[in-house]
Amino acid sequence: MAELTTVEALNLALRQEMERDDSVLVLGEDVGVDGGIFRVTEGLIDAYGEERVIDTPVAEAAIVGASVGMAAYGLKPVCEMQFSGFSYFAMHQIESHAARLRWRSRGRFGVPMVIRMPYGAGVKALEHHSESKEVYFAHTPGLKVVIPSGPRNARALLVSAIRDPDPVVFMEPKLIYRAFREEVPDDEETIPLGESRTVRDGDDLTMVAYGAMLHRTLEAAEALAEEDGVEAEVIDLLTVSPLDDSRFTESARRTGRVVVVHEAHRTFGPAGEIVARLVEKSFYYLEAPVERVTAPDVIVPFFAREQDYMPDVDRIVAGARRALEA
């Protein structure tokens, strides 16, 4: 058991899976000698060699496309898009092949690959380095989309993603890469994909979040408890697709009031689906309009404005109060 950052925890997951299974390969830009620009793949090339830890040319479509071929061959490629904002270069390979090859070949070729990508804002990065377009992937049948919220679940989810027989888009919130440490067991730990978790109990309000926003949401929940005497239940999605709506719709039936938080753009964003599920499954229990606290429909601004772009604790609290007071 060690106190690890999310980066270290992800590295542990990769290392242990590579150790366990020689069909696990890592590929991407700068993942080898450099150890990944965020150091997630640090040291892997020394341990497993350049055949298994592959520094690639700058070519996202080929990284994903070659991974599809490797996966069909029976390997388990874990490929990296250096930032999620560059994954659009590979969108056709993701949508048209990674997500479809099992289906197209009627089960002959599964595609057990993971596409890792740092995503989200908050680390003062350049343009395109702070994107949250998880909807592109979550709206694509055949994919799974996983977004951890801390070192321990990041590690356990990545292990599950690697072992999953289907393609998983694994989006890593940059903001929590090094923001805090958590105890991460040395021994194997997995979390089933497709299950959300309740992080905080409460009966007055339901708050749904994931990734880096979970922490701001939790802070907001504490503030609400302290300042308003309101106990919010906070749910961490962990897997965005397939979306586990069992917890948040159940919670909403108890609380009647819901806030959804994400740093993706508002319109046609993830919260829309969550609201739709709430309406479908908990309509008669809703006492107020579901509040969406999201980034606005603007391109992520250069970093001087990024904290203004992202939902912050104040905005989440304000959204919660609107839901509570409506």
Binding site: L25, E51, R52, I54, T56, P57, A59, A61, A62, V64, G65, A66, S67, V68, G69, M70, A71, A72, Y73, G74, L75, P77, H92, Q93, S96, H97, L101, R102, W103, R104, S105, R106, G107, R108, F109, G110, P141, G142, K144, P165, D166, G194, P242, L243
Partner: protein
């Protein structure tokens, strides 16, 4: 020091063995036994007749859009024939002849054209990829497969088909560059059939040949008379051997011609002259091989008649089998199948709800 020419280890050759008149360059004729030559001929003819039959079925509205192979049989058979069973074949969307050679049942191809997903099913052990429609997008897969073969030291070679139009896509470029970098056992087989739907080869790229594009990736390129099954075989064979012996990838450009429509949704009279087609009909790869086999007394007119009859029966049977399969595939709820190894709950729920109406 000043302005000097850089020595490039590069040369593009053009290979023809079997001339348009059926004459051969004896020195270059590859070592192929009579049976194999006859199998070439038979599969080429089967592909042609099958194509014709599909066209009719399409015109009758019994199947949907498909991409005829007519004219490209030599390019496909000559190349596919170089593969071992354990080697991998990665097609685009026009590889009917290659698929038949590799053992894909013709009925599966009919089923595909009739709009049934099951027509794309790949048998458990087959090392064939399903049809890939997005142009050039299958090329990176071939590199990934080849990487797998190399990593596992399996000795399997991966041959991927694509067209002249495909060489313009970014995926072509990225994939060949990967292959150059990693020395993967790939054969990149470009069927330059002169057209990408309505766009002629000259608009596709200003390069004189497509073969020369290999230079960009440090891999050899060769141009072959794609209607000459012997030349295609010889060149691909070399490429397969290079790949198998660990020397890396090769780009083979087969210069051929699409004698028919692009797909059944296409009307070539909009963009090309019938004369051009007539010119190319004279270079028909099947006639050319047939003349050669006749000249070697391996085939008689009678043999061909028998063969035609046999093939007609085979094609008919394929259609009947496909029709039967279509009836069996009665349940449209099968559209929910095969998205994941295990269907997730939300999809199960959707299937149930869908089935309830």
């Amino acid at each position: 020091m000043p302005r000097e020419t850089i020595e490039l280890p590069y040369e593009v050759e053009r290979l023809t063995i079997l001339g348009e008149d059926g004459e051969v360059d004896e020195e270059l004729v590859p070592d192929l036994d009579d049976d194999t030559l006859l199998r070439f001929h038979r599969t080429m003819l089967l592909a042609r007749r099958f194509d014709e039959r599909l066209l009719k079925l399409q015109r009758q509205g019994r199947i949907g859009t498909f991409a005829p192979v007519s004219g490209q049989e030599a390019a496909q058979i000559g190349s596919a024939a170089c593969l071992e069973e354990a080697d991998w074949m990665v097609p685009s969307f026009r590889e009917t002849a290659a698929a038949l050679w590799r053992g894909t049942p013709a009925s599966a191809l009919v089923l595909y054209a009739a709009g049934y997903n099951e027509g794309a099913a790949i048998p458990e052990d087959a090392h064939d990829f399903p049809i890939a429609i997005p142009v050039a997008s299958q090329i990176p897969h071939a590199v990934g497969l080849a990487y797998g073969s190399k990593y596992r030291d399996a000795g399997e070679v991966v041959l991927v088909y694509f067209g002249d139009g495909a060489t313009s896509e970014g995926d072509f470029h990225e994939a060949l560059n990967f292959a150059g970098t990693y020395g993967t056992p790939n054969v990149f087989l470009c069927q330059n059939n002169h057209w990408a739907i309505s766009v002629p080869r000259e608009t596709q790229t200003a390069a004189k040949t497509l073969a020369q594009k290999g230079l960009a990736y440090g891999i050899p390129g060769i141009q072959v008379d794609g209607n000459d099954v012997l030349a295609v075989y010889a060149a691909t064979r070399e490429a397969v051997e290079r790949a198998r012996s660990g020397e890396g990838a090769t780009l083979v450009e087969c210069v051929t011609y699409r004698l028919s429509v692009h797909t059944t949704a296409d009307d070539p009279s909009k963009y090309r002259d019938e004369e051009e087609v007539e010119e190319w009909k004279k270079r028909d790869p099947i006639t050319r091989l047939q003349t050669y086999l006749e000249s070697r007394d391996l085939l008689s007119e009678e043999d061909v008649d028998d063969l035609e009859e046999e093939i007609a029966g085979e094609v008919e049977k394929a259609w009947e089998e496909a029709e039967k399969r279509m009836e069996e595939l009665g349940d449209p709820a099968d559209m929910f199948d095969h998205h994941y190894a295990e269907t997730p709950p939300h999809l199960e729920a959707q299937r149930e709800r869908w089935t309830d109406g």
